[in-house]
Symmetry: C2
Subunit: 138 residues, 2 copies
DNA sequence: AAAATTAACTTGCTTTTTGCAAGTTGATTT
DNA sequence: AAATCAACTTGCAAAAAGCAAGTTAATTTT
């Protein structure tokens, strides 16, 4: 697995030590906003993560306590990946990324629409999502 | 320079295409919160970025319109790197990373103290910093 | 009940990126 | 005029990413 070391005691640097790559937050996004929870579902996302990279990131996100493996309700062959509270608490970072991208990058029409909604009522929407996610988590 | 391509039209993915690495946001942090503006100042930060990686990231951040090169007030030998409005708008993402790290990772005492302050008055502090940064920017 | 399919990986190999040390060039200081 | 400083560049080794194919246990289909 990717080497996990703390480069400094700066909080931004320490956060980036874990989530500072192109893939980790996409897995978190898929669980949080796209209702995905299994290896093959993650593989199917538009960004096309490689199988070995996905395996590596899942192991790393588990090792850092952002997600955990659980039994899948439908089948013993599947693994149900779910976010911990630590993982759920990444939501505000994702929200701010959406708002930034919506303002400064070319994104889909859907994303533009969602961005407008978010901008209007960020605090409420965030709190709502957070509560829903943590409830499912118990 | 690192290949700049959009993996999908998802806003989170598109944001990560640019800032999804271990170094870019540390440069932004250094300009935004640590009063650093030159190559050698960036090199001196605790995380010890390599010279070639720094050069690469500066070029990439300039190419994506997050920062620009300006004349240094004190010397013609120095380059003064400053954030654009697009770069300044990354502040909320950094703020949320600080709050997350403060809650879930081991960070310095200073960071813990600052996190408490932030948590109490996030909106006001963010707006204040943003305004100050954009004023300097004109 | 055997064969095929699915899910979650692992392996091997190539390409790209990172990290490290040393070198270059123009401006500034001694 | 010589030494130093600032911002890079270059060369090379190590690590990570990307790609195709293979493995194993659990279903599903025939």
């Amino acid at each position: 697995m990717k080497q996990l070391k703390q480069r400094s005691d700066c909080p931004i640097s320490s956060a980036l030590d874990i989530i500072g790559d192109k893939w980790s937050l996409l897995i978190v996004r898929d669980i949080m906003m796209n209702g995905k929870n299994t290896y093959n579902e993650f593989l199917k996302s538009a960004e096309k993560i490689a199988t070995n990279v996905l395996a590596d990131r899942l192991a790393m996100l588990e090792a850092t306590g952002i997600l955990t493996k659980a039994e899948h309700p439908d089948s013993k062959a599947k693994i149900y990946y779910k976010l911990t509270n630590k993982g759920i608490d990444l939501l505000p970072i994702l929200i701010e990324m959406i708002l930034w991208a919506d303002e400064h990058l070319p994104v889909s029409n859907d994303a533009v629409a969602y961005g407008k909604l978010l901008k209007k009522d960020k605090a409420t929407i965030t709190k709502q999502m957070m509560t829903a996610l943590k409830k499912n988590n118990k």
